[in-house]
């Protein structure tokens, strides 16, 4: 493995270095090019960094010194002179020289670059580089001399061997080693000499070449040793060639075209079995398939390449965290496309890091849990039907579902009520939500709250899926499914309207065909269609709706085709007009003019030559927001959603008879009941029913009660403490979220006015009216409070609603629509105990006014808003509003009024 790391480093560095030479030369010509300098700096920095990582101190120190000079140049703390740049080039030559040695020997050659490093350091400190360039050119000469010598030496040893025919290699070895030692001493001496004598490189080189051959052998013993190696072991360059990825990509595209052409030919010949073309087409088919496979292979890399850094990572982590961890790897030679490989590298590293850091317990913990003291992380990769499956499995502590759930609740991902119904599997999926790290302590390696969500995003970006299974105390398994390649995929061809579309097979979970007489199994929740598939509700989306095209038929008695697709952890059903076939398609990018349409991920040409669009199920999901129907508030966190939710009121829509729909704010409704009609009795005050050991007075919305019917009577129950009343309606229809504006006021008793709900004009009832009718003493009876509340609100509806609810809570209320009315009211009669204003309106002026007037300054002002946001809170605070509450939370409002009034009384008592 160590070897692999080294090879990787060399491959990468050689490429970088070759680029560097030309970059630096370009930089020399254009010393003001900061970008270029930054890129050069980065390259050297990377090499330095990697050296530090794999313990190559010599290369590391030369790169460090070189980087220093570049860094200073970048910051312009030293000048970008030609001499300085030459010195940098020398530094790079030094690095190259060391790397050559490293490549052939497997370890850094024992060459000292003290002087070069010293020069670089001095330049970095601001010394004039030209001082050192003399030296530098001399060193260069030295290098040339060595190179020359090397060649000669090589020939010479060769001659030596052939000539003598019978060489005692041990002897030779010994001699060479001794010579090498002597040579090092000599070299040092020589360097000194040369420094004095050789001013021009050519003389030095000449001098070196003129040395007698015999002497060269001894003198260059060390390099010989180095040079001898390549013949035994091929260099990286010999084993493989580097091909520009663009070339491969282009080849892949061409093969894609070929596949398409082949598909078309096959389609054509299919109609004519006797065709004389059929034999050559079969041949073409086979060759094309082989070619496709071959070209794909050139882009294939073993997944082990992405794993190579993991053993080291795990080892280091184990040391830091004082655990014992063993990393097992299977299927390292499983190959996949390089683009895919690149994409999974980081997520994979992250997950292994997670397993090592959070998954596997410390030795003590493991022993206490009765496990072996050594934890295991098992990596497995294998092919499965056009996909690569990668499993990361650890036998650690597993995921603490309770902790995840608590975190999810505190982050508002799920309500406590819904939480009770979640399975452990569901809970584990929260791990993939942003900001949900349950690590108790943030360590240097992980647990910063960015993690699995990024992993999932990355994997999904390349069309893969992540699945997580965990058993507490036993370990965690993460299963990643990724496509083998991204260019040629298998897709399901479906019809919507009069057109075909392709859905990538990867996202398709199953196909469900619902016979026409089973259509009733499709139900509606609010305005969304759902289908009960086995044990869960599957939200349905009509593909024709998504595409905004006409369905191919309006008939309702046809079979329904549902394509169940998976997006992230959610599934939904795409209702299509027809399902054709699966086909291998070549993904072509969407054209410039249609790039911004999220529901398409590409285009392709089918076997019959038709162009069709490839649908992006993720795009469709977010487009249609299909997932919100099942997910428990999970998706309502985007800003968009929040804004949408603002100012919306939940309304219960019911059938008031005579084919009219009416609505009542859900906040006012206590319960919905159905009573059998024979239980309903008549009293002097109208119908009444025994309900929960009490008598519930009933009112009919239509004014009459028909006891002859057998169907149960739906009743909306309004409650307040001990008191309740029921409103008999013809049917409960729906609960809708609407922005409620009463558009037409009503004079009819019991009706507030008409609003547009669900696109239909709907009357909103005045609950106060019915409540009073059912029990005229509803409001008075309870010993009316002495507290007087002024409601200022521009919405007639809210005024009415607040009045109803606050009166039910024993307050005396008065209400006005606009601030000026409130002002005149307060000026005449300031004896209110609280004022309720609306911060969705402009309530600051009024609030300030109230507090600035002597008479009214003591009255607490309670602000309401549809959604508590920091900006509104700030507005409220700045204007002096005593407290800010969300609308529709009547009990909180009444509590708050009571509190503020008590406080005020107490204060007045103290000051009096």
């Amino acid at each position: 493995m160590e070897d692999d790391i080294l090879q990787g480093f060399l491959e990468e560095s050689w490429e970088n270095l070759s680029q560097l030479d030309s970059d630096i030369v370009a930089f020399e010509k254009d010393t003001e090019n900061d970008d270029l300098l930054a890129s050069i700096f980065r390259t050297i920095h990377t090499i330095k960094g990697t050296c530090g990582f794999i313990g190559l101190t010599r290369i590391g120190s030369v790169s460090h010194a070189t980087e220093n000079v570049l860094g200073k140049m970048r910051d312009r703390s030293i000048e970008r002179t030609t001499d300085g740049i030459s010195l940098v080039l020398e530094g790079i030559d030094g690095i190259k020289e060391l790397m050559q040695g490293l490549e052939s020997n497997g370890e850094e050659p024992n060459v000292d670059h003290k002087e070069l490093i010293g020069n670089l350091e001095q330049v970095a400190e601001g010394k004039d580089a030209s001082e050192f360039v003399g030296n530098a050119s001399q060193q260069e000469a030295n290098a040339t001399a060595q190179a020359g010598g090397k060649a000669v030496a090589g020939i010479d040893t060769a001659t030596l061997m052939t000539e003598s025919g019978d060489v005692d290699f041990d002897e030779l070895d010994k001699a060479i080693n001794e010579a090498a030692a002597r040579h090092r001493e000599k070299l040092a001496e020589q360097k000194k000499q040369e420094k004095e004598e050789a001013k021009s490189p050519s003389t030095a080189a000449a001098a070196a070449n003129e040395k007698p051959t015999k002497k060269v052998v001894t003198r260059k013993a060390a390099p010989v040793e180095v040079d001898a190696q390549p013949s035994k072991k091929k260099t990286v360059a010999d084993l493989s060639i580097r091909v520009n990825v663009n070339v491969l990509d282009r080849l892949m595209n061409l093969v894609g075209e070929l596949v398409l052409a082949r598909n078309q030919l096959i389609q054509l010949s299919r109609d004519d079995e006797e065709s004389r073309y059929s034999a050559p087409i079969t041949h073409l088919d086979r060759v094309t398939s082989d070619l496709q496979e071959g070209v794909m292979k050139t882009r294939m890399q073993p997944i082990g390449n992405a794993w190579s850094k993991l053993p080291r990572l795990v080892r280091d982590l184990a040391r830091i965290t004082e655990k014992q961890i063993e990393l097992e790897m299977d299927g390292a030679d499983t190959e996949l496309d390089r683009t895919v490989l690149d994409a999974i590298k980081d997520p994979l590293t992250h997950m292994v890091r997670n397993s090592a850091d959070h998954g596997v317990e410390t030795t003590a913990e493991r022993l206490a849990a009765g496990k072996s003291e050594k934890g295991t992380i098992h990596l497995d990769a294998y092919h499965e039907g056009g996909h690569v499956i990668i499993c990361i499995e650890d036998d650690g502590a597993g995921i603490n579902a309770e902790r995840v759930l608590n975190k999810a609740i505190s982050n508002g991902l799920v309500s406590e009520a819904d939480a009770a119904n979640l399975s452990d599997y569901d809970i584990h999926q929260f791990i993939f939500h942003p900001g949900l790290s349950t690590a108790e302590k943030v360590s240097s390696v992980s647990g910063r709250g960015v993690g699995m969500d990024v992993v999932r995003t990355e994997i999904e970006r390349i069309g893969g899926t992540v699945d997580l299974l965990s058993k507490e105390g036993q370990g965690t398994t993460v299963r990643i499914k990724i496509p083998l390649t991204l260019a040629i995929i298998s897709a399901l061809v479906v019809k919507a309207g009069d057109q075909s579309f392709a859905i990538p097979q990867l996202g398709v979970v199953e196909l469900v065909r619902l016979a026409a007489d089973q259509r009733s199994r499709i139900e509606r929740v609010h305005d969304k269609q759902v289908f009960r598939l086995r044990d869960r509700l599957l939200p349905l989306v009509e593909l024709t709706d998504v595409l905004q095209v006409e369905p191919s038929t309006d008939e309702k008695d046809i079979d329904v085709n549902i394509v169940v697709v998976q997006v992230g952890e959610e599934q939904f059903g795409l209702v299509v007009d027809e399902v054709f076939d699966t086909e291998e398609i070549v993904v072509k990018p969407v054209g410039l003019l249609m790039k911004d349409i999220a529901i398409y991920q590409g285009t392709t040409i089918l076997g019959d030559g038709r162009v069709i669009m490839i649908l992006d199920v993720t795009g469709i999901a977010s487009d249609f927001n299909a997932l919100s129907a099942t997910s428990v508030n999970r998706d309502a966190h985007t800003e968009d959603e929040k804004q949408k939710a603002q100012g919306h009121t939940s309304l219960l829509v019911f059938d008031a008879g005579n084919e009219t729909m009416m609505a009542v704010p859900l906040a006012l409704v206590s319960r919905l009941e159905e009573f059998s009609r024979d239980k309903i009795e008549e009293s002097s005050n109208g119908p009444i029913i025994q309900y929960r050991d009490c008598l519930l007075p009933l009112q009919s919305i239509s004014g009459s009660f028909d006891s002859s019917q057998t169907a149960p009577q739906p009743v909306i129950v309004f409650s307040d403490g001990q008191k309740s009343m029921g409103l008999m309606v013809d049917g409960i229809n729906d609960v809708v979220e609407e922005h409620l504006t009463i558009q037409v006021q009503s004079n009819r008793p019991g009706v507030l006015g008409t609003a547009v709900i669900n696109g239909k004009a709907t009357e909103v009832i005045d609950t106060q009216h019915y409540v009073e009718q059912a029990d005229p003493e509803w409001f008075q009876n309870k010993g009316t409070s002495h507290l007087r509340v002024l409601i200022v609100n521009s919405s007639n509806f809210f005024r009415q609603m607040l009045t109803t609810s606050l009166r039910a809570e024993k307050f005396q209320t008065e209400d006005v629509g606009i601030a000026s009315d409130a002002l005149s009211l307060l000026e005449n009669d300031p004896k209110y105990d609280a004022i309720i204003v609306d911060f969705d309106d402009d309530a600051e002026d009024l609030t300030q006014w109230v507090h600035s007037q002597k008479q009214t300054s003591g009255i607490p002002v309670i602000g309401l808003c549809s959604r508590l946001t920091p900006p509104i809170q700030q507005r409220a605070d700045e204007s002096g509003c005593n407290t800010l509450l969300e609308k529709l939370d009547i009990s909180a409002l009444s509590r708050e009024i009571q509190n503020l009034c008590n406080q005020r009384e107490w204060n007045q008592g103290v000051s009096a």
Binding site: E257, L592, L593, V611, I612
Partner: protein
């Protein structure tokens, strides 16, 4: 060719709603008769769809739609002027393709300001030929390409 042809550029002309328009020959890949088009739901209205030109996918843009003109009469079919632009192929749906003109640089006149607004935006110049006047179309603008 005439002597001035060295300075001249050739333009392919075509008719759209009675107006003669032109684009440089160098931008034109080929001209086709009516084609099978795959419509692309949810795309901009002027995008007529995609067509398969020997394995190459071409985005077809209906010039009448993008210029805010009424659609072509029933029964008539458009012709396709295929352009190569920014490494991608586009096809303009036009009523009919006209001649190829040699146009010298000097004969390109500035766009008259009185021109209709939707023409003004997509025009880089006007050329007078012996018998007619044609408008040079700015391909990038007429395609409404996103900024590169």
């Amino acid at each position: 060719m005439i002597a001035t042809s060295q300075q001249a550029e050739q333009y392919v002309s075509f008719w759209v709603d009675g107006q003669l328009l032109g684009v440089p020959v160098s931008a034109v890949q080929e001209v086709l008769n009516s084609q099978n088009i795959a419509r692309t739901p949810r795309s901009k209205p002027e995008i007529a769809g995609l067509l398969n030109l020997r394995g190459q996918i071409v985005t077809a843009v209906d010039l009448r739609m993008s210029l805010g003109l009424p659609p072509l009469e029933e029964g008539k079919s458009s012709m396709y002027v295929v352009l190569r632009f920014r490494g991608e192929s586009f096809s303009l749906l036009v009523d009919e393709v006209g001649d190829v003109f040699d146009v010298s640089k000097e004969s390109i006149l500035p766009v008259p300001r009185t021109l209709n607004a939707h023409w003004l935006k997509v025009t880089t110049g006007v050329v007078r030929q012996e018998s007619c006047l044609f408008i040079i179309l700015d391909v990038a603008t007429v395609l409404r390409l996103p900024a590169s």
